[in-house]
Symmetry: C2
Subunit: 220 residues, 2 copies
Amino acid sequence: MFMGASTKQGHEIATKSREIVQSLIKDKVKNLSSQEKDIVERIVHSTADPEYADLIAISSNFIKAILKSLKAKEDILTDINMVKSGITQYDGNVECFIKNKETIAITKEATKATTTKEKEKKITRAAAAIQYAADNDFEGIIAIGNAPTALYKAIELKEKGELNVKAIVGVPVGFVGAANSKEALQKTDIPNIITKGPKGGTPVAVAIVNSLIQTINNKD
Amino acid sequence: MFMGASTKQGHEIATKSREIVQSLIKDKVKNLSSQEKDIVERIVHSTADPEYADLIAISSNFIKAILKSLKAKEDILTDINMVKSGITQYDGNVECFIKNKETIAITKEATKATTTKEKEKKITRAAAAIQYAADNDFEGIIAIGNAPTALYKAIELKEKGELNVKAIVGVPVGFVGAANSKEALQKTDIPNIITKGPKGGTPVAVAIVNSLIQTINNKD
């Protein structure tokens, strides 16, 4: 299994693509570690967008922390089901709680708020899903490919000591809140990888996680 | 429900994002129909990548054909499960056969080929999944967000009269084969939407399909 290919034909396509990607971005990744280089190449392969080589920022404590968590088969929590669907080769659990009835209940409870203080607690369902995970003793990695609100909630809960997250793949996408949420993540001590600016999304989150899972699986 | 938002907070974010997108690409979409404009805006919203406004090409028979199929609740077939996961508001079936045992069997059978003629039949699992759908009387829409090989297979089977596809969302991504497969689709009579060049992917396929489903649902 290489870069998601499951047949010889698929493997040949993936290999050729990787060579093209390497020729496109080789100057931009030359100072990265092999794992970091693998991640950036896989993102560009998955998106066909070389600009990502300029947008990725990886905290110095990220690779070690996330590999340790993956090797221990700790849970991976995703903000949306699309991200979960793309992580297909992991021996541990991949979870997404956005459609759980308890998550929907958290969102509805917040909607009933009447005072200003209570209104501040109003949250999106993606953020409620992170709250639900924290309430249920989640321990592991969080991968955010869509919702800045989920990323802000993860940062808030980690800083309060209420969320046992070992590393965050923080690549929400969009023109509203995404860039700021990623800057907020970079200011924390949480091991993290982000994409600067509005870009990011499901394929980016999936490429990062799958690249690291492949690192682990190849070493087994 | 607007652009995937399920809460008031989410709705506000989606609305603000849409306004930013409109300001970024308004000159590029001014000659499009309202449905076409919705599609392009939603893609840019989902990817935070305004370049897509230059890359989308829609055949003149696409909108009418796909809306008719969606209104009839015909099946939507996706090449990979990530695309299926993103289509959450459709009243009809959304299918993906890439992990079916019959699909895996088609791929394995092709791998046994020994003669040159037989070797030509070697296929990826994504292509085998389209073959499986055709073999089982699929009728409806095909949305390809990843694999050029799946798109080529859909075109081939449609032209042989073996696949009853009403419209193709053809936005495979990558540096190997994706651009050519989309050009091949444009040369057919199949109602289609594509992204020119290597770019495309799951969020693009999902944005297109969900935009059209929203058009249908708003009219109900």
